[in-house]
Subunit: 985 residues, 2 copies
């Protein structure tokens, strides 16, 4: 493709070259390898495995309390480095000295960090600022802190910002003026400039939660107010893509308020790597014009590139960033021109270390008639100092982005800087480390991939059976249109529900109630009587031969049809779940997504199983091995994943050719009705799958029936063990051994290691323990903390949970909804009473009296053998246990008759390895939440008394629903055998 | 490689060319396509699928009784032909007329057959012989008949030979002399020449059975005597390789007898395609010289080439024939010269249609000074008539090999002829159909592969785990050295057994007795007490973590070591089985072979299972799926495959990392002792596998123990169902759900279709029903015959069984040994008593009174619902059931609570397809025996109440012994993810 010839291209290159010549005289501090770490950074440029080890080590270092710990981590990380460079063997040996070198290493890392992050307290910050002013360079402060996980922490951050503003206002007030950095066309610029991440201003920044906006606005207003008072400027930083729309909305919302309408120095950062960026900038400019106000825009390339790609791929969402570096550079240049062109309302700031990008902005400004002080260049503290010097000397205003704060929370920032410096595509690396040709470095960005496309648009297309399986994406509630759509759907479904009227009791009818408002009837179904169940079994038995002999491909196609219909009805089904079982938006959405995944996955799995395969190649004999369905399957499903689990078990039974009798939980009959409807519409013959509604007695009848071949059950341990015993007790007239596929409960533990990333641990533990009120077999119900960090993690956890709102799940403000029914509420209340005797109750939140609500409860200092540490509570009750060390923590975690899920948070390679080996549970999660297993990705199921070792959504699952047969045919007839290639028909 | 230049090569080519010119003037009758069948043969030269259909159709045709049947088969065979040639579509359409064309087709096939096979009765034979004499050509008669399966049939064949000799002696006596074919250097040749297959002279030609030799010698002697009396000649034909050594031995034995020492015209056929042939000919010549007698040798290329390769590959034996056509041709020429060179004792006959081979023989004879009538050329009736004419005109004596008899038994012969004519490498096809260049056809055979190697030598090498799995070969008892070796081993083991002394009773001790001679104690072991069992469980539990964490590769290597030791002790182990459980030689041998296979197969299976696999490739997250052992496995094994099944179940448990407790059957404790010894020597840690000796109470204790994780059981249905119930009943303190791998009984049916090859059906049914006295879960215990062939199959079956000998299994004369114990004997006797009430007893053979012997019993007209048709008898008792048609036969076959093995004999593609679909059993065998499943080749296990759908020796078996786990690791740390290729460690 040919590039558009820009009239200023020549000037851009000339300026870039001139700046480069000047900058090239000095090497930036980072590339002057003076110490061990410096050398390692140098080496890591050439050895990816060393780079991984190094970054991970640096990442964990601040959380290590002792030299011994540092020494251990050094050994763990570097002993396993794949030494591409001979020299590193020496290094590794040196590092094996471990503890001895620990203080040196820590000193080095601190020194390294302090090249990028100023100390907040004491003189250091002032010294740095004074130094910058001498260059002269302006500054903006970025306060590094732990991720905010509670209201307490959000308020503390707000307080810290304000204090810093006040302190610096005082210090900078006395500085003599400096025109190059103080003056702008419209007057003097604030000397104090603060960059703020909105996520630090609320307990959990969540675009879905309307409270996020109001809480953040509240706190941001305070900052704006204080800044206005002090004559300081505030820049709103941009974080991950998921936060972008809400960040822009909050920024605009506050800026539009009367009080701030005329505040001249409100600035927002925008990321050129986003495919959305150009249109966002356009929107912002138009908005500013409508508002008739000036706005600052800091244009950066974007710092979450790796993460954005990973998150999007993990969720199956469109990748929001350009995956081509040149596309980002090109976007940056386009947006640069757009901002400069809008100089009437926009104060542009260009944040980059790329000389080409900066030269482009400078030349464009000139070309567009923007005065030299009508925009500014921003660069990061500690980075690319020679470039900065060259630009300052060129006369531009340069502002240095200066993080301040402690090392521990600053590490995330440090890692990003190291990545930037050592990434293959980094301008700095290419300039200083790789010493690339200048012409190549400063040429106009050339796209190697397709031009920008909007990330919007669904990727959840229905697929052909021949395509590879892909998970259906969950809904992205960071998008307003999705939120609007679901609100509308909730209203529609609620209207239907209201239409059904109030509860009335009748033995014939099963009434499904809204657990958040039990007076509301969500659905009403006829209870299946025993004689009707018998008829259903007989019908299934009569139809079975036909269904068995239906080609696997046809059966698979019905599942895929079902998946297609479910995609179409995704929002509707999720809305029904909100009302029938009290799931929150994301939980309901994920359940539907998982159901779609099961249909798609098992359909493809069946095609792999179908068809005989040759066991050996032999002349004169064909030997084939193939699978056939078992017969009639009873599907006994729970209410907590009312669509997904029922769909999964039923789809597995059906696609393998069994006839299914669905017996959903009494609490969620309507989701089964919806599923049946979808399967029928998808083309499933009526008798292949019948729906039997009822309670335990009906289930027991099916389990005991001599005509049932297979029971697929997910539910409690008690019922599961009973089913196993009953099913494997031979009945008169029974002509086969039954097969039971059985998933039972969990008492899942999360271990938090001393070196864990607590920001992540706290958030994931809360999600795992209190998501859907803890009513998941995978839920975290035990958290094991080590002595060293016990108190700190516990208090952060408690405060974070305390920030959660409780109420009806259709309101996305409520993180905690109701439990399923009155019985559950009573049972959980009893466990809470028991827990108060057995342990210390550190949190017990109030809950609405109407509806089946139970407020989150946290017990601390729970004894490992106590009942609340051993029994499955299935509610929002979390037990915190204490362990001496990681080893003991694992022992406690394993001390359960359950073994379903579990997790650890650790950054010790040895501990992670130890957990992989010794934390014996069905699904182990490392450094992430322990619920939400994804089909195919995390085959799901437990060991011990959690299950029989099948794995839903895994490669072996369907095998349980079939029986293998072997056919051996002698093809030799009177010495004549068909030729080999004709042998297998 | 350069060919040795033969001095006569030029003459050979000159003669071949001359003969060719003469022969080429006429096309042999077969290639003159005058009718439909002729055209089809033509077409089949170019379309392999048509060739298959055509040959198979011709093969089955004589057994079809009606036009309707012929029509149906025509449709079935030709509707599915893959029509490579457009013209065949027309043909297929014509053939779809089915019944209409049936008479025409049958007429055509009869006509075709009669080109090759003369009618025995009436004038036809004499007319053919007279015709030949006019050419002039001599003859040798080959009497085609059904395979001999009983003594009655053997005697009938002998009778038939003698009658034919007498009849022809009379006819030919009056013929005027004809020097070219009557005269030889040593006088006038017999005009009547009979070719005899020794397998037709006994009930079952088996080199292992010493009675075969004596019985055949007895009958052959009669023929020799009669021939001598009539002045006729007898040629002993050569059949498959497995019969060769014994055939030579019998021939030499009789020829050496005083009575026949001077008989001038005893001839034996030898096959040049055998790698052994050259040394066999050498031996024979030396023997003749030592005997100072003349011998006839007919040198042929060999007619079982396809079968020999198939059989050898199926058994894992060395391929006895040259796989390169040229190697056979070269061998033929070498042996030709050798025979002519030995003209002092050998009358050579060269049987071939290959002009080059014949020209070579003629030229060599001349070169070696053998007079023209000092050897002869033999050719097949109906084949290559122009070649024959050319050779006769060249002055040679030509003898035509003339099959006589009925079409049905002659089909095997016809198929061989058609194959020969239509094979790619056939000289005739190349000459007449493909019209190859004469120079290429007559050039000296050029080897394309390595020179001849002896087929002797073991192929049962131990293998590295990285090699592909190959089945261990069973011992080839057609080889004298193997028979000798086993006799010696039996003596050694018997000496050990005798050393143990007589039975003495004691509760502490379990005494294993020889079921053929219960006074003999085969072994004495201590019974494991319950408290000792508890100790063993605890020991296993303590050792389990170490064993589980032992790398899979190491565990696999121990199995492979075990396999190596078993190979070394193969003969010894088999000998122990003969004495401990009363197995015959082959049965004992196969059991050891199967045990080796399990070790080899599961070792490799584990390597495939071992190691985590990525479930999906995602940035920022690794997701792995892997398997871990379940814990402590109780192996409860039966006595009927005392090594194989115990080894299989134990090896599966061990290699997957479980600790095993072996509980062998009370009847076969010693085989378990041997296995344990082997595993220990192979490097298995002591506590990984412990041996507990005892009865049902001990087994029940293990099954109920809360500490046992897995029970692998093979045995009766009653015990199996009891184990399932007990194992799935949760016990106090039990921390897991047990897994039961369970194989139970069978009541296996064989259906014989009207178009079945009865020669094969009868033999395989007997093997399947009475092999190891019917004490296999896979044994045939029901045979379902159709009305049309009921009586005929029944009487052949009864007579064939009647020919079996009963007695101690160490004597290979005895096809039927003892049943396992007194209890079994009683139980079987009761069933026999019952059977006599329920059905007609058509055979009840006497058995020795001492020892646990039960003579074979056959019941006919058994009702499908009677107890003897429904219950597993586990002894040498066979029920014959009657069905109206194939459909009903399948329904009867399926009318059982068991569904383990079964078989059909049919040559109807539609019936075979129907059985594949509707005969729902674990292992279906088509046109072969229904026992002896081979590891990997025929994964073994039953459905319904025969088992739980696992398949021993199959790809899914090991999965039952493991539990899957999933580990999901978030590898993204502060935005930094390892590059993709480093992601999965």
């Amino acid at each position: 493709m040919t590039l558009r010839t820009d009239p200023t291209e020549q000037s851009v290159q000339a300026l870039a070259r001139a700046l480069y010549q000047k900058a090239a005289e000095h090497k930036p501090s980072l590339f002057e390898a003076k110490d061990l770490l410096g050398r390692m950074i140098d080496w890591s440029l050439e050895d990816p495995s060393l780079r991984v080890a190094l970054f991970r080590f640096v990442d964990v270092l601040p959380s290590l309390a002792s030299s011994a710990e540092i020494g251990r981590h050094l050994e763990e990380y570097f002993a396993r480095v794949d030494h591409a460079l001979g020299g590193l063997v020496f290094l590794a040996q040196a590092l094996h000295a471990g503890t001895l070198v620990a203080p040196v290493v820590r000193r080095n890392v601190v020194k390294l960090a302090r090249r990028f992050i100023a100390e907040e307290r004491g003189d250091h910050l002032i010294k740095v600022l004074t130094g910058l002013r001498k260059e002269p360079a302006a500054f903006t402060l970025d306060v590094v802190g732990e991720a905010t996980v509670s209201d307490v922490e959000a308020s503390a951050m707000q307080e810290r910002y304000i204090e810093l503003l006040r302190r610096l206002a005082k210090v900078t007030a006395d500085w003599p003026p400096c025109a190059q950095i103080d003056d702008a066309p419209n007057g003097r610029l604030p000397r104090v400039n603060l960059s703020v991440k909105l996520s630090s201003l609320c307990a959990r920044f969540d675009p879905l939660d309307p409270n996020t906006g109001s809480n953040v606005r509240e706190r941001l207003r305070e900052l704006f107010r204080e800044a206005a008072k002090l004559g300081a400027a505030v820049t709103v930083d941009m974080e991950q893509y998921a936060f972008k729309d809400l960040t822009l909305e909050i920024f605009r919302g506050v800026a539009a308020e009367k009080e701030f309408r005329d505040a001249p120095h409100a600035t927002i950062a925008l990321q050129a790597y986003l495919k959305d960026a150009e249109s966002d900038v356009g929107d912002l400019i138009r908005w500013a014009r409508r508002q008739k106000r000036r706005l600052g825009v800091r244009l950066v390339k974007g710092a979450y590139w790796d993460s954005e790609i990973a998150w999007a791929k993990q969720k199956g969402w469109p990748i929001p960033v350009f995956t081509d570096k040149a596309a980002t550079d090109a976007s940056y240049e386009r947006i640069s021109r757009l901002l400069l062109h809008s100089n009437d309302v926009i104060d542009a700031a260009f944040g980059s270390h790329n000389l080409r990008s900066l030269a482009h902005a400078i030349v464009a400004a000139k070309a567009l008639g923007v005065p030299p002080n009508g925009y500014e260049i921003q660069m990061l503290y500690g980075m690319a100092e020679p470039v900065r010097q060259a630009i300052i000397e060129n006369g531009q205003r340069v502002r240095v982005y200066l993080p301040v704060g402690e090392l521990l929370p600053g590490i995330a920032y440090l890692i990003r800087r190291l990545m930037e410096n050592t990434s293959n595509t980094s301008f700095l690396r290419q300039t200083y480390a790789d010493r690339k040709d200048i012409a190549g470095l400063i040429k106009a960005p050339a796209l190697t991939s397709k031009p920008a496309q909007s990330p919007r648009g669904s990727s959840g297309e229905p697929m052909s059976p021949d395509n590879e399986f892909r998970n259906a994406p969950v809904s992205d509630y960071s998008r307003q249109e999705n939120r609007d759509r679901f609100v509308k759907m909730l209203e529609e479904v609620h209207a239907e529900v209201k239409h059904l009227g109030r509860k009335r009791s009748s033995g014939q009818w099963l009434e499904s109630v809204n657990p958040a408002d039990p007076k509301e009837i969500v659905g009403r179904v006829l209870v299946t009587q025993i004689d009707e169940a018998e008829e259903a079994i007989d019908k299934a038995a009569r139809f079975f031969p036909e269904w068995r002999d239906t080609p696997a491909r046809e059966r698979a196609k019905i599942l895929l049809n079902g998946a297609r219909i479910m995609r179409e009805r995704h929002w509707e089904l999720a809305a029904w779940e909100v009302f029938e079982v009290g799931k929150g938006w994301r939980e309901a959405d994920a359940d539907v997504t998982e159901a779609i995944d099961y249909l798609e996955y098992y359909a493809r799995g069946m095609l792999r199983l179908a068809g005989p395969r040759d066991t050996q190649q032999l002349p004169g004999e064909t030997n084939v091995y193939f699978y056939e369905p078992r017969g009639i399957a009873a599907i006994i499903a729970p209410w907590n994943f009312p669509l997904a689990i029922l769909t999964g078990m039923t789809a597995a039974a059906l696609v393998t050719g069994n006839c299914a009798l669905m017996k959903p939980a009494e609490q969620s009959p309507m989701m089964a009705v919806h599923l049946l409807d979808i399967l029928r519409k998808a083309g499933l013959p009526e008798d292949a799958c019948q729906l039997l509604q009822g309670g335990g007695e009906l289930g027991a009848h099916l389990v005991r029936s001599a005509k049932i071949h297979l029971i697929a059950f997910t539910g409690s341990r008690e019922v599961g063990l009973e089913i196993l015993r009953e099913a494997y007790t031979h009945r008169p007239g029974q002509q086969h051994v039954k097969r039971v596929v059985c998933e039972m409960g969990g008492k899942n533990a999360v271990v938090v290691d001393n070196d864990a990333d607590l920001d992540e641990a706290v958030v994931h533990i809360i999600d795992s323990a209190f998501g859907y009120q803890g009513q998941k077999c995978s839920a975290a119900s035990r958290v094991i903390l080590l002595d060293e960090t016990y108190q700190r993690v516990l208090s952060r956890l408690v405060e974070a949970v305390r920030s959660l709102k409780i109420g009806a799940p259709e309101d996305p403000r409520n993180a905690i909804g109701p439990v399923i029914d009155a019985e559950a509420k009573t049972r959980i209340a009893e466990y809470i009473r028991l827990g108060k005797k057995e342990a210390t109750c550190v949190l017990e939140m109030a809950a609405p009296k109407e509806g089946f609500f139970v407020g989150p409860v946290i017990f601390s200092d729970v004894d490992r053998r106590s009942r609340i540490a051993q029994e499955e509570i299935f509610g929002p009750v979390l037990s915190i246990l204490r362990a001496r060390d990681f080893e003991q923590a694992l022992a406690i975690a394993n001390d359960s008759v359950f073994a379903l899920t579990g997790g650890i948070f650790s950054r010790s390679p040895a501990h992670i390895e130890k957990a992989r080996k010794e934390f014996r549970i069905g699904n182990l999660y490392i450094n992430r939440g322990i619920t939400g297993a994804v089909v195919e990705r995390q085959p799901f199921g437990g060991l011990k008394l959690s299950g029989i070792g099948s794995k839903a959504g895994g490669p072996d699952y369907l095998l349980q629903f079939v029986e293998p047969r072997t056919i051996s045919e002698n093809t030799l007839r009177h010495g004549f055998a068909p030729p080999e290639r004709l042998k297998a028909k």
